[in-house]
């Protein structure tokens, strides 16, 4: 789960990381109230989960109440790469002497944590990595040992941060690592991490991605979940415990297992069709789950055929077959359904469906045959 900037800053603050004083505002009046409270000049920042806000006019400096009104009014409702701004973050403007970059993420090949620190912040780190890789100090961190202050001190030295910033930066990095690990982040990034002319170091931006597998130990994430803007199809699917991603094609896909679902998308594409979605009903899916999956797909007006691809493992094919019949009895499915059923209890499952097969419900012996049939129906 990606956080908005303001949520990332609030998350940082929980771990004692210095951020600019500020607050959220959902209207011009709220923006004015926040600005009056924290003092001018302020920065009015669009809260969207997409890069390039500044260029799109979503970040403006305001030195008095009229400017806050003007900018807040312009930015609220602004469309930035398809993301409409509904919320602002108003914070005290900071004078900037230097901009740095700092982040922690998982180094998957090495199965350790990776810290990246650079004295050249404020620009995209991918650009720095491309043009001047020596400007990034990489630090491999053993997840068992963690990051201590001594190591952080050597790291800021190696990254050639300004002398005056080093001790504060080292302390901040230890806190950021704590936020990253104890806070179960997939990514904790500060760009820019700034040094002010008065010699203070703090986070001017926050990019945080949380590991949803850890949500059971983070009740505080509930408020972040509430602000997630989702495709209505995805929201409905999630409520039913389905792993669904909306796409743009016409063949509705239901499969068990992420790999098989991905593979199903690929095969549909190979035979000339396009998938309307990714939908993994998971392991051990029963009739209820299958019926819910069909209903979610059915609610997508773009779908013109449905391809159900099941390889029973924990999931039993007879349960899947029952779910299909149950869904058909509950709601009118708008598109023809093509099924490919193999694996655990496939024979039983096919037998359950046999009396009900017609030109709206059909089976094919292999994944490839079923994909061809579903695509030809979708394109008909």
């Amino acid at each position: 789960m990606d956080l908005f900037e303001y949520q990332g800053k609030q998350y940082f603050a929980r771990y004692g990381i210095a951020v600019s004083p500020g607050d959220v505002a959902d209207s011009v009046e709220e923006a004015v109230a926040v600005a009056e409270r924290i003092g001018y000049p302020v920065v009015v920042k669009a809260q969207v989960k997409v890069g390039g806000r500044g260029k799109a006019g979503g970040v403006k400096l305001a030195s008095d109440v009229d400017e806050v009104r003007l900018h807040a009014g312009n930015i609220l409702g602004l469309d930035i790469k398809g993301h409409v701004v509904r919320r602002l973050w108003i914070e005290r403007s900071s004078d900037i002497a230097k901009e740095y970059y700092a982040s922690f993420t998982l180094d998957r090949p090495n199965k350790t944590h990776l810290g990246m620190l650079s004295a050249q912040g404020g620009v995209e780190i991918e650009v720095v990595a491309e043009e001047n890789p020596d400007a990034i100090a990489f630090l491999s961190i053993d997840p068992v040992r963690g990051l201590d202050l001594e190591t952080a001190r050597r790291w800021v030295h190696e990254a050639e941060l300004d002398e005056v910033a080093r001790e504060q930066a080292a302390e901040l990095l230890v806190k950021l690592y704590e936020c990253y690990t104890a806070g179960d982040c997939d990514l904790a990034e500060i760009n820019p991490l700034i040094l002010t002319p008065e010699g203070r170091v703090h986070a001017l931006d926050a990019k945080v991605t949380l590991d949803e597998n850890a949500s059971y130990r983070h009740p505080e994430w509930e408020e972040y979940r509430a602000t997630e803007t989702e495709d209505p199809r995805e929201k409905r699917a999630k409520e039913k415990g389905l792993n669904y991603i909306g796409l743009d094609g016409t063949v509705g896909i239901i499969a068990n297992g992420a790999g098989l679902a991905m593979s199903t998308l690929d095969v549909v594409n190979q035979v000339g069709g396009s998938a309307a979605n990714f939908l993994d009903i998971g392991g051990g899916a029963n009739a209820d789950v299958m019926a819910a999956a069909l209903e979610v797909i059915n609610s997508d007006p773009k779908v013109t055929s449905i391809f159900v691809n099941i390889f029973g493992g924990i999931t039993r094919v007879d349960e899947v077959a029952k779910g299909v019949l149950e869904a058909l009895s509950r709601v009118t499915i708008n598109s023809p359904i093509v099924l490919r059923l193999d694996g655990t209890n496939a024979v039983e499952g096919r037998a359950i469906l046999a009396p009900h097969l017609n030109d709206r419900l059909m089976t094919e012996p292999t994944m490839l045959d079923a994909a061809r049939r579903a695509v030809s129906l979708a394109n008909a």
Binding site: D186, N213, Y216, A258, G259, S263, L265, L368
Partner: protein, 294 residues
């Protein structure tokens, strides 16, 4: 021969008294696997369908001589269960648990490497391992596998592992061992571990490898194959049509920026001399061709 397990491997099930543990543990035993015990704290002295249950892994190992463990416990207890297995003397751990936080996996993996270098962890979030006719630890349906070799299978995805077994068995091609390494960000066993074991196994004559989007394990495997593998490898990578930035079910299956795409993986594998196929059926057909020509 098989890799990592064989017909003599003695297995305990951590979580045998739970619904999933009982279902799969008994299913594995029915397949012929030597399931010699279960572990559930507080339930020592009881049994599950004749399989003795112990309070701790150490007690189970001392009483049964088990060397392998099948971990079937909820995500929040899985890391502790894996470490308990290693501390208790188990050397091969299969963990099927899905949904373990990535930081827990990273700590557990490194603790095993540092304190228990001889222990191999398979998973988490994997279907397990089956050596047809000999041993099945995990959730794979035994009847889709065919004993006798000569193909080894290694796969990152659960259901595609079954699909791969099915494609081969349907065509009368047996498997030496089929290893599902799982789709999580920090897998205990990776492609290279399995490829190296298959390369060293005289009965394995060819290998089928199933990858998916995300990470760079397939690229690393390609590099290893180029320099070390003399046996033919057929590969399929799922997710050619997956959109960037969206997790496709597995925590590890995500295209970040320009990295981790299926195309990049297929290109790397093809450059290493691997037979890259566009779907599981094509991969099965290619393998038939290769095995017939052996």
């Amino acid at each position: 021969m098989s890799i990592f397990v064989d017909e003599n491997t003695k297995v305990i099930v951590q979580g045998l008294t739970g619904g999933q543990g009982k279902f799969h543990g008994l299913r594995n035993r029915d397949y012929g696997t030597k399931i010699v015990g279960g572990v559930t704290p507080g339930k020592g002295g009881t049994d599950v369908d004749g399989i003795p249950v112990f309070n701790t892994v150490r007690e189970a190992v001392e009483a049964t001589g088990a060397t392998a463990s099948f971990v079937v416990v909820p995500p929040r207890f899985a890391s502790a269960a894996i470490l308990e297995a290693a501390e208790g003397g188990i050397t091969f751990i299969v963990c099927i648990t899905e949904g373990i936080p990535a930081h827990d996996e990273a700590v557990t993996y490194n603790r095993l490497v540092e304190d228990f270098p001889d222990v191999r962890l398979l998973g988490p979030n994997c279907p397990g391992i089956i050596s047809p006719g000999k041993c099945n630890i995990g959730i794979t349906s035994g009847d889709i596998a065919l004993p006798g070799g000569p193909v080894g299978i290694v796969s990152r995805s659960g259901t595609l592992t079954y699909q791969a077994l099915h494609e081969l068995s349907q065509k009368g091609i047996g498997q030496t061992t089929c290893v599902g390494i799982g789709g999580d960000p920090v897998p205990g066993t990776n492609f290279i571990d399995c490829l190296a074991a298959f390369q060293a196994d005289p009965e394995t004559k060819a290998v089928m490898m199933i990858g998916e989007i995300g990470g760079s394990e397939e690229e690393r495997a390609a590099e290893w194959i180029k320099h070390n593998m003399t046996k033919p490898v057929v590969a399929y990578v799922a997710g050619v049509t997956a959109p960037p930035g969206r997790k496709m079910g597995h925590a590890g299956a995500i295209i970040s920026g320009s990295k981790g795409t299926a195309q990049a993986k297929m290109d790397a594998l093809a450059a290493a001399g691997v037979h890259v196929c566009l779907n599981p059926t094509e991969a099965g057909e290619k393998m038939v061709e290769i095995v017939r020509a052996l």
